[in-house]
Amino acid sequence: MLTYIARRLLYALPILFGVNVLTFALFFLVNTPEQMAQVQLGGKFTSPEAVANWKAERGYDRPLFINRDAAGLGVLTDTIFFEKSVRLFVFDFGKSDEGRNIGAEIRERMWPSLAIQVPTLIVGIAVNISFALVVVLFRASLFELAAMVLCIALFSISTVFYIIGSQFFFGKLWHLVPVSGYLEGLGAVRFLLLPIIIGVVAGIGASTRLYRSIFLEEIHRDYVRTARSKGVSELQVLFRHLLPNAMIPILTGVVVVIPSLFMGSLLMESFFGIPGLGSYTLDAIQAQDFAIVRSMVFLGSVLYIAGLLLTDISYTWVDPRVRLS
């Protein structure tokens, strides 16, 4: 097991390296730091001194790959590539273009993100599985057709509309919850309620359809027929026999997103004014703070790869037939 994990981690390195090179190319080669400085400082008519200053303050005045002026290892390390990209590998995110410590911000802002994402995920799975089970219980009926059309309708509505609509009705018109904002500690519940509910509702459509098809795939298996033929009631079949078996693909499908929960939700956090990583990223995009965007890209890919690894491990956990090889 450990050797397997170690090998998978080694396999992740070239991917992370690829991500790094890609973002580096996007941020430093396609557009030079000069151009970034000009845009940040306001258009074409900025003085060369201001641009040089801006670059020096943020360490963008080094050469890209090879620094011929430096001594020793500095030839390689005193470069933009090393300072801004390679350092990410040890999670040294450095400073944002505004001059704030990115690592500290991430550690502080991940908690509000998790406070939305974890309940949304758990409640969402529970709701979707129950709904899908009910649909499967009444399969080949008008109810199923109606439920499936409802699912398509639910995921045909952009999340933006769910957010805007519920903020308007529940927050502004009926004053049930605050429109936006955040408090530390238990006070946060009032602010988190609506984002969590929206997250669950917005996810019902797609997930229920997926789970339903997983259930339907299982329902034609032999063990289900055996259970029915020995007189087990349909409800018992669903809960005792079908559900545990169907949980394998469902849970392994969920595992891949777990690490990415840290990243938060861009839309939800910015609409509800929650100071998580999602709104952090969004603010960085809008302020064109490339240092933060670069860090978040890297963090996102690390978490994604961690998710892939967890998925593979969880396969072997829940299904003894799968061997690590």
């Binding site: 000009q38 309708a153 045909s156 805007i164 308007f168 995009i285 064109q288 965007v293 996102g300 890919s301």
Partner: protein, 462 residues
């Protein structure tokens, strides 16, 4: 204008592309007709009532988008100083001609749906020249009414007229359809009642909108007084184009790399897998945002290339489509790779290899046709996903240019509009209605296509 206006056609890059793509889609559909199996599957799609109705709705949207993609510049009236013909700086489309009254009838600021008074009070002078504050009458909405109390009656009367006209038009179309059905389409077992009902509904809605839209603001006006309905109809082009362009741009990469990896295996497979795992591991929205920001930087540092606003918007729009396409081909690529791996082990492929059939021919004749169902399913599914993505991206500020009318931009404006008191809800509502109808129709159609083409049957997993 006394002298006749002449028109100078303008071909934006996106216009050319969309016509090219629609033409190639039609050609693709024509080649599909050759195989009896695919014909049978399509017949299954169109035999379902939901399938055929949703297809017609999507077609209606595409038609509007195509009408809105025929651009031209009108000549300006000749002045005394020169006899040369000068063309206006603003680029209009055929759709603008149809919606002329909506486009021209602008107000000064917000007004509610069907309103005849403005949304906010203004200073005005009464007959004696005294200053007072009240809601002014709109310059356009309901301006033909002498007495505001007539509004309800007028709306009903005009609706009745519109519906009668629409019914006449629909009757003509239905007659034409019935004739076609007897002459040409007798063999095709379409659910005719659903076809007819959808057609009637589409015709009635459009005649009603055209009739009432010329004298009222059916869905109100926005902050600068533009008709909201006009805006949301113009946004159709943006939505449909993003959906089609981005979807079709994903295809070549996904097909070439996916089939290549699955067929050649070995090093090719390793490289392709590495590339798509790397791309996939970057959070999609961040990759898109980063790329769009770079395009922005490019536009800002090269202002001389984008003198006309429309050209700049069009460039940015196309870039967005390319970026969306380049960042979203991985899902289809993975599916195609897996399927090709499976197929290339089958006996008929082995046999072809043993006979010494060239690899290009094996791929073209034996593999490609057998993975086409995956391509088709993802084609229709991606379309609606991209339409929705546009709204989110424009909200984040990395979507289409702010000068381009799009549902995303309308939603973006809605945040501040809804928090006004009283709230301005019509803008977001009309974007919502038009977008949901399109996405819902596309998704329902995609579902039918999947049910017909996916060998694992209806509702199979992607």
């Amino acid at each position: 204008m006394t002298e006749p206006t002449t028109l100078q056609p303008v071909l934006l890059w996106s216009d050319g592309l969309i016509f090219l793509l629609v033409a190639s889609l039609l050609a693709f559909a024509a080649t599909l007709r050759r195989s009896p199996q695919t014909r049978q599957k399509w017949a299954q799609v169109f035999r379902s009532r939901i399938g055929v109705s949703s297809f017609m709705v999507v077609c209606a949207y595409v038609l509007v988008a195509l009408l809105d993609s025929v651009h031209f510049r009108e000549s300006l009236p000749a002045t005394e100083h020169s006899a040369d013909v000068h063309y206006s700086h603003s680029i209009r489309s055929v759709l603008d001609l149809l919606l002329h009254d909506m486009q021209e009838g602008t107000e000064t600021t917000y007004s509610a749906p069907f309103a005849i008074y403005s949304f906010s009070k203004e200073n005005m002078l009464d007959e004696q020249g005294r200053l007072y504050r009240d809601f002014p009458r709109l310059a356009h909405g309901g301006a033909h009414l002498a007495d505001p109390a007539q509004r309800a009656g007028d709306i009903l009367q005009r609706s009745a007229v519109a519906l009668v006209r629409g019914a006449l038009l629909a009757a003509v179309l239905l007659g034409l359809l019935a004739w076609l059905r007897r002459r040409r389409l007798a063999r095709v077992g379409l659910p005719w009642r659903a076809v007819n009902l959808t057609l009637v509904a589409l015709v009635l809605v459009s005649t009603w909108v055209l009739e009432l839209g010329s004298v009222y603001h059916i869905l109100g006006t926005d902050q600068v007084g533009t008709d909201v309905l006009y805006q949301s109809v113009k946004s159709i082009r943006t939505g449909v184009l993003i959906g089609t362009l981005a979807t079709l741009l994903t295809l070549p990469l996904a097909i070439v790399l996916g089939i290549g990896a699955g067929y050649f295996k070995g090093a090719v497979d390793d490289v392709v897998q590495y590339v798509y795992t790397t791309l996939n591991s970057i959070p999609g929205i961040l990759l898109i945002a980063a790329s769009v920001l770079l395009i922005d930087v490019y536009i800002q540092t090269h202002p001389e290339r984008f003198e006309l606003t429309v050209v700049r918007a069009d460039f940015k729009f196309l870039a967005l489509c390319f970026i969306l396409g380049l960042t979203s081909w991985t899902t289809l690529c993975r599916l195609l790779r897996a399927e090709t791996l499976k197929i290339s082990q089958l006996e008929y492929v082995r046999a072809a290899q043993a006979f010494g059939v060239s690899q290009a021919r094996i791929i073209r004749r034996h593999i490609l046709p057998n993975v086409m169902h995956l391509v088709l399913i993802s084609l229709v599914l991606d379309f609606s996903a991209f339409v929705m993505a546009e709204s989110v991206l424009s909200y984040i500020g990395v979507g289409v240019d702010a000068s381009m009318m799009s549902w995303g931009n309308m939603i973006n404006a809605a945040r501040s509009e809804l928090s006004r008191d009283p709230s301005v809800w019509w803008s977001v509502m009309s974007a919502f209605i038009l977008m949901v109808v399109l996405v819902l129709a596309a998704n329902l159609f995609a579902d039918e296509v999947r049910a017909a083409f996916d060998p694992r049957g209806a509702g199979g997993r992607r």
